[in-house]
Amino acid sequence: WDEPIIFQLSEPGHRGILLPCAGSEVEAEVGDGLSSIPSSMRRTDLPELPEMGQLQVLRHFNHLAQENLGVDYNIDIGQGTCTMKYSPKVNEGFVSSHKVADIHPCQDQSTVQGALEIMYLLGECFKEICGLDYFSMQPGGGSHGALAMASMVKAYFRDKGEDRDEVITTFYSHPADAAVPIAKGFKVTVLPPDEDGLPDLDAFKAALSERTAAIFFTNPEDTGIFNSRIKEFTGLAKAAGALCCYDQANANGLLGIARAKEADFDLSFFNLHKTFASPHGCGGPATGLVAARDYLRDYLPAPLVVKNGDTYSLDWDLPKSCGKVKSFYGTLPSIIRAYAWIMSLGADGLKEASMIAILNNNYVMKKLLAIKGLSMAYPHHGARIEQVRYSWGKMKEDTGFGTGDVQRRIADFGTHYWSSHEPWVIPEPCTIEPSESYSKEDLDEYCAILERISYECYNEPETIKGAPHNSTIHHVDHDVLDDPTRWAITWKAYKKKYDGYFNKK
């Protein structure tokens, strides 16, 4: 499809949907409604939205959908750290039911017992999954989970009367583990990796002080290496009076195997859209479920879901709470999907998911490391958990083509590939996370694509240079995006800056 911008499809007077009409009797009673609006606030020009029939709107967005790639359409293992696993379709039926889609947050609690029960039951499951005690499902994603943790750390020390304003995180933790505490007003120290790729213990000791409020660690880190010494870190942190916050975004290799509890973390968050199979939705809505030890219950975002007898209710009585991070109580659809996914697997199945995720990752690792020009960081860690950060550094040296070139070319094979979180310390990085959802044949096919691209880089440079060849669009001029006189963030701005196809006015 060479799909126009939607405004180009507008035809005068066309309608995509009608509204219920109050009818002439009501109009006779109260007038047209609009004339009662104070004139200074009455909008008389209509917003210049497109005017289209319903089929025309549907077709447009269907065409855009077909120009997009989800887990349902490709072997989505190239977006490492994202855990692009299968989101079971059966769960979509629960979420789209009016019993979930059409309930209001202020309804009497007797009319939303189903929603509350599932939130409660999901918490009960997480008691086992992470070993901690109380839960909030308010955060809308992983970074938001980090915000909740950072806010709880603030609230905790405020309550204790301690003035601590530093956070320590690690280089291969998720970007949010640094960014969120910074945004929350903490000073953040990022520990460099040691020669094993793990956070440097000496640097950690040096950074730790009575100013340290918390550590924010991801484990395994984005290299796929599990920090075996994690308990040393949490132990030192606790000794220094800091709280230990666990970013569990990379939990997909740990279910039933290793938990926050055994590693002595105080707080933790999980991405229900990664590990627990809620779909990513192009980037949310999602849930970053936060888990806390019993002694931190009071600081969780209010309200919590509690059970009294057979009745579930919202407990707002948390005077020391860190406050709220999101309106109302959380993203119910991902909560329900996560619960349903856990229930469809059970304890054995969850552990099997992690075990196979690990198996798949190590399989792909062995296959990929046989590809010319591709290596991995910290190669002496022979076995990885659920993902691996690789490097095309050698190929870049040999051919001039690096990870960005692979990324452009792989679109031609109908699949994804993501370089890696910035900053790039590992040269020309890419991160592959096979998860448990893909079959051996899927993994073989993906590896074969990377092998083919490596071959092309070494032997058919022209193919790489012109890529993508089969994509909807060709090379995008990125300079525009950093130039205020040329970027156009909306169609309205485009029309002000340009005539026709990018003819500057």
């Binding site: 939607i6 995509g16 009608l18 109050a22 409604g33 609006i37 909008r43 209509l46 917003p47 939205l49 549907l58 967005f61 959908a65 120009e67 997009n68 989800g70 887990v71 977006q79 009016h98 309930i103 947050p105 202020c106 009319t111 017992q113 189903g114 086992e128 994603g141 960014a179 290496i225 290793a258 990513h280 939705g281 192009c282 980037g283 406050g323 309106s327 109302f328 119910l332 349903a340 856990i342 229930m343 304890a347 199945g349 969850l350 099997e352 196979i356 798949n360 076995a383 993501w418 959802s437 079959s439 051996k440 993508p468 669009i473 995008v476 001029d477 525009v480 995006l481 701005a493 002000k496």
Partner: protein, 463 residues
Amino acid sequence: MSCCRKIVHPYIPNSSPETKKEILDFIGADSIEELLVDIPQELRMKGDMDLPEPCLSEAELCRHMDSILEKNTSVRQAISFLGAGCYSHQVPAIVDEIISSGEFLTAYAGEPYEDHGRFQAMFEYQSMMAELLDVDVCNVPTYDGAQAAGNALRMASRIVGRKTVIMAGAINPDRRKVVETYLDSILSIKTVGYDGETGLVDLKDLSEKLDETVAAVFVENPTYLGAIETQGQTISEMAHKIGAMFVVFVDPSSLGVLQPPSRYGADISCGDIQPLGIHMHYGTGGGFIATADDPKIVEEYPSRLFSVAPTSHGEWGFGDVLWERTSFANRDSCKEFVGTHAALWGIAAGVYLATMGPKGMEDLGREIMQRSLYAKKLLSSVPGVKVDRFKSTSFKEFVVDLNGTGKTVEELNRYLLDKGIFGGKDISKEFPELGQAALYCVTEMVSPRDIETLVEAIRSFVE
């Protein structure tokens, strides 16, 4: 009832023993256990997780889930007058169709080449919001409107270089709590009340509190109590005079018939897109921030901003504006953070706006106005019930004052619930100065007949 068969799970294809063995052989390992070398025994979980017996088949899972979800009563099974930041509006079926398509639902973060559709859909969302708001820049959705408000105030603070903000008028208390979390440790908040007679911002109080430490004045329009704030232009001038920015939280469903904030001086408009074709889901949301196309402002957005860009072959290309600005690119010295927020709701709102078109948005505003007026007219006929607590015009929500009936909102709502009616939100604790008062919401989903049913029920209750 435990299953008596060996399980190869449909979601874990390689759990097939044949495949598992093939892979282990290739790796050269005897068991997966061997691959866990880096996880010391002391960190291992002892024993198995104690989880409920699973529902391994879809049929059993559906029965289990149905048996729980059945306990919910949805607004499709009742007559609802609840609003207060989450709204029941008509959701066109094609919105659900598109956002439930596997292509959008299960995608994440691909590049412009293979995820072209997502980039374009998001650009179109931004663009349609810009038409509604009459601005040139709008962001990719935040988690919710509350975050958008928090972000907007932090943006204003950075732009103006001051550390205090004023929240003025009747503000949604739930939202305010979230904003406080976003501002905590960074900015301080001063509160300005509402005028007891009009329900609008108390201008006197505002002018007293407004000084040159103030980075921004924040108001809601309509206010939490439903009034159309008509003093926007005045407040804007007051704020601008001392170099502060004016931030308006606006209900986008009103903008087919109400002026957008940019036209009465708002420097930043923000709000929640949930009313634009997104199901309530027990309180979901997605936030927008919208401003002029001023690089000083654009620099301060925490969110992703997609721009259209030319390609070598003349297609519509897309990409991230000022990528280096975001915490993705620049985590260690970021101003705020970005992550997985609410992109799918942005696509939903885009489909909604395209489906509604200009006339749909106008009709929506008209229907809401007419029905609210009709509800107020009928309610005011009930002895002791007052709907004119404030001398201002309301949009979609209004206060129903029960003080003259001798009954509490709680009692009334319990009575209504028995009749299948969700009465307005009890705000007597949030706003004790109003006594026994409820916040009623009337959207296009409430029919004239529903209103009559409500009024009959209230009448029979109070009489």
